[in-house]
């Protein structure tokens, strides 16, 4: 072995190239839960009985995966620059969404407007209902037992943990998403955003501002 190629016993490898790392488990290595098995069985039955086609199911999953909070943010930004639109959004978000060529899905979404006197917060204490057609999939903390139990019973402490202190003069209004409605918060337009375009305003509207655990910042 010449001096120029002296990389030790295993050449350029620092370690034995045959050295085995623990394998990353495949999905199937985690035991299925009861509800995962039920979900797979129901999907199989719906397809076998011809109620839906496998491609329709795949397409719907693919569509849901494309949804991000940018959809909700576009509605909020429009509401900030057009007070008539804000009125229509709060009155009927499905019709207002259609104005922006946005389908907000089969479940009604009620838009709850924050004001200097009322701060809205969304939770689903029973499971994890969430305005998925506007915000995409919920974050893990939204589904946690900790958030679900405490957002309803001590919302101000939860908000403080998210970095938000509210004066006692501001009412905290928690919406428990228990049944056939979904909820989205319409946050207040932040000070200092006066000169921004609608597109730039939408950038300020994050997922968490529309769940109500924080407010938009410039």
């Amino acid at each position: 072995m010449s001096d120029h190629h002296d990389h030790g016993e295993f050449g350029m490898y620092e370690h034995d190239p045959l050295h085995k790392h623990p394998a990353q488990p495949d999905l199937e290595d985690t035991p299925l839960t009861h509800h995962q098995i039920m979900q797979m069985a129901v999907a199989d039955l719906l397809i076998e009985k011809g109620v839906i086609e496998a491609d329709e199911l795949r397409e719907q999953i693919e569509f849901m995966d494309t949804i991000t909070p940018a959809r909700g943010a576009a509605l909020v930004a429009r509401a900030w620059v057009d007070s008539d639109f804000k009125y229509r959004l709060v009155a009927d978000s499905k019709k207002a969404g259609a104005e922006l060529d946005m389908d907000i899905g089969p479940t009604p979404i009620l838009v709850m407007e924050n004001t200097p006197k009322v701060h809205n917060l969304i939770v689903c204490t029973l499971c994890s209902c969430y305005p998925r057609f506007l915000l995409g999939y919920p974050p893990d903390w939204y589904k946690s037992r900790d958030y679900r139990s405490r957002a309803i019973s001590e919302p101000r402490k939860v908000l403080a943990e998210f970095g938000m202190e509210l004066a006692d003069s501001v009412e905290v209004r928690v919406h428990d998403s228990t049944a056939d409605m979904r909820y989205m918060v319409l946050p207040m337009r932040p000070d200092g955003s006066e000169g921004l375009s609608e597109a730039a305003l939408a950038e300020l509207v994050t997922r968490d501002t529309m769940v109500g655990v924080t407010t938009p910042k410039t």
Binding site: S153, V170, D176
Partner: protein, 95 residues
């Protein structure tokens, strides 16, 4: 089925504990609130969950509760509220 309650009506949530797929959270059962919105008529989830897709739909409302009425030693402001969707068969008139 016409709606029994109107916006502004005070209502009482039944203190009932039936088994099954009940969407009325425990913490509001037996408590009083005020109707703030009529949401429309929907199938009863307690029947839907067991495959009953026929029959009448039920009016459903949003009911506002004072936090101080729901929790002992609520730590926030007395003006804080919770709003919950509740089906009509869970609500009683406050006399």
């Amino acid at each position: 089925m016409s709606a029994q309650f109107s916006v502004g009506d005070p209502v009482h949530v039944r203190a009932a504990y039936p088994p099954g797929h009940v969407r009325t959270p425990y913490y509001c059962r037996g408590k009083s609130g005020v109707i703030v919105r009529f949401c429309g008529e929907f199938r009863n989830p307690e029947e839907l969950a067991y495959g009953k897709y026929e029959g009448p739909v039920s009016p459903m409302y949003r009911v506002r509760f004072q936090q101080n009425d729901l929790w002992d030693n609520y730590s926030g402001s007395p003006d804080d509220h919770v709003e919950i969707e509740i089906y009509e068969h869970w609500l009683e008139q406050v006399i």
